[in-house]
Symmetry: C2
Subunit: 351 residues, 2 copies
């Protein structure tokens, strides 16, 4: 409790509170002399954590932004908040940081005390997921298990339910998690099939790491047997995995072939659409047209389109048209009920 490293950690934790700490107060809190505090501050600075000091009678120390991230010392509630936030984000993650987000979540959940874990899952259950209905909501626990196994180079076993409904048990050497828009895929070497495969994470059931470690094989670049000439050893493989996924997706049937016309300029629409849906082409004066393929759920696509906040018109696919029709009718009926008792099946009516 009273040795130097512990004190340094405590000091770091105190300094992370966004306020100024006079040296005397720190000395009192940590039960050492002010001189030692000054020395500790020096040490932190040597370690690369920039402690800023303001002199004068209301001066004090404060940790500011530096070149590297200092260790984050979170209290219970903050840890829970981050875990909940990341889990909520895991489904429809912010583009560009999906993988990192899952890595961070895995890191956090690895060390999250069990009482906090209970609070997290309780809050998680109380939260209404934004996308639902097509049954492909992703279990964050599955995601973190896969992510841990991939970075920890541990073999995985899981049950897989493929697109046509057949079930199988797999044992794989996980390579990397990749997300496209709303969906997650695992690129892995299937030990049983003796080949590389991509798995949709929402079709993975009950994954667990066997504990057996493996040395990662090089991901085939194009054809089998081409040279994956010595990588830097660090993780330059994320792009590879994404490319591999893209190639294997090309062979699969994309689930939705979008064709939408917007009554708004292309840049307006682009700014309001997720990037992986593609970019619309100008079409006519003041309009644009989006043709793209995606594997996202119907509800989610419909929601994104509605949020673009301009008139639009869907050419295809038919399921999307049908869904929008249904949703539009439901909303119109909801609005039409105003002023009198609601009744099912009341037709639309306008004032």
């Amino acid at each position: 409790m009273s040795d130097t490293p512990a004190r340094l950690l405590k000091l770091l934790s105190l300094l992370q509170t966004p306020r100024e700490w006079p040296g005397g107060e720190l000395a009192e809190r940590l039960d050492v002399s002010p001189r030692t505090i000054r020395r500790d501050i020096d040490r932190l600075r040597d370690l690369g954590y920039p402690v800023e000091a303001s002199r004068g009678s209301v001066g004090g120390y404060r940790l500011v932004a530096g070149a590297a991230m200092p260790p984050l010392l979170l209290d219970d509630e903050e840890a829970v908040a981050i875990a909940v936030g990341l889990r909520a984000g895991a489904g429809h993650a912010i583009e560009g940081v999906e993988e990192a987000s899952v890595r961070a979540l895995a890191k956090l959940e690895q060390v999250l005390p069990s009482r906090l874990r209970r609070r997290v899952s309780a809050l998680q259950n109380a939260t209404v997921p934004l996308t639902r209905g097509d049954g492909s909501t992703i279990d964050p626990r599955t995601l973190t298990t896969l992510a841990s196994a991939a970075t920890g180079r541990e073999r995985l076993r899981f049950a897989y339910r493929s697109g046509d409904g057949t079930r199988s048990k797999r044992q794989v050497e996980p390579y990397r998690l990749v997300s496209t828009g709303q969906r997650w895929y695992l690129v892995a070497y299937d030990v049983g099939r003796e080949d590389w495969r991509t798995f949709r994470v929402d079709r993975v059931g009950e994954p667990y790491a066997t504990g057996a470690r493996f040395t990662p094989r090089p991901l085939p670049v194009e054809g089998p047997g081409s040279d994956a000439s010595g990588g830097t050893g660090s993780d330059a493989g994320s792009g590879d995995a994404a490319a591999f996924l893209a190639r294997s997706m090309r062979r699969m049937q994309p689930e939705l072939r979008l064709d939408v016309r917007f009554d708004a300029p292309a840049e307006f629409v682009t700014a309001r659409l997720p990037a992986h849906l593609g970019t619309p082409e100008p079409d006519g004066e003041g309009g644009c047209r989006l043709r793209a393929s995606c594997a996202d759920s119907l509800e989610w696509v419909a929601l994104r389109l509605a949020l673009v906040d301009c008139a639009f018109s869907v050419q295809g696919p038919p399921q999307l048209v049908a869904y929008l029709e249904g949703l539009g009718a439901r909303l119109t009926r909801a609005a039409a009920g105003a002023g009198r008792e609601p009744r099912q099946g009341a037709g639309p009516e306008q004032g």
Copy 2:
């Protein structure tokens, strides 16, 4: 670089990677003898960080969940992912952890290196906010500035735009941030007005901490002048602030008086609605009715209602009815355009 505390931090950071580390490898990485590694592991355990060891030929060390949160050592991408996730969540935060979420964000942004900060704001801009249109989107920077000032007991100056449009400059002693559903409020002592006020955060402009520290005053409990008999000194004031906000809200006009009937059982609807919107009462067979007041934005409420995924009917307020009408018409038109070239103003038509 090579002294003990730094090595311990590095060790912690290595152990947080979700994989097993043999002692020898750690010794090599940290450039000390294996014996020292064992001693360091012991030290970490003494500090309360439970390091689990598996013996045997494929054994190794791994940090597991313990009683307290260990310092989180994030790499750049993970830090960015968390920051982006929390900022995205700041607008429509998960219920129950809003304040903690903002505290965590403030803590993180305080030490986030500037190059990462740029990446965060770039990603933030690329993201389409889920709610827009009523101009009340919240700037996460404002939120974290206020949170930092509140926990750091620093005075704040900002420009305020009140409900009727009048602008004023305020200097306050911030007490606490409170969120209700989608909106954020600051409970603070207004130095100029010499009284307690609540401010809507989205109406706060250009806040900055003056640097002047203050000693927090007790928040009046009911009437002015009642005794707030010595609190525990710690932060038991979160509930107080919420209660204070609720009292001062009661005097204000709530913005939306919802009255919605759902064609689904009350428990079905409750599970799919955010809690702060209130709970619906059973109404007729298999239906229920929700009467509640809220200060959320129109678009957001409409979205939540649509996501309940059952037929419903809105009695009021009129703005909501009008908005749903417009949205429903837009979606119906979007669906009706299928199969032929879209044309503006084409009336709805069904097959």
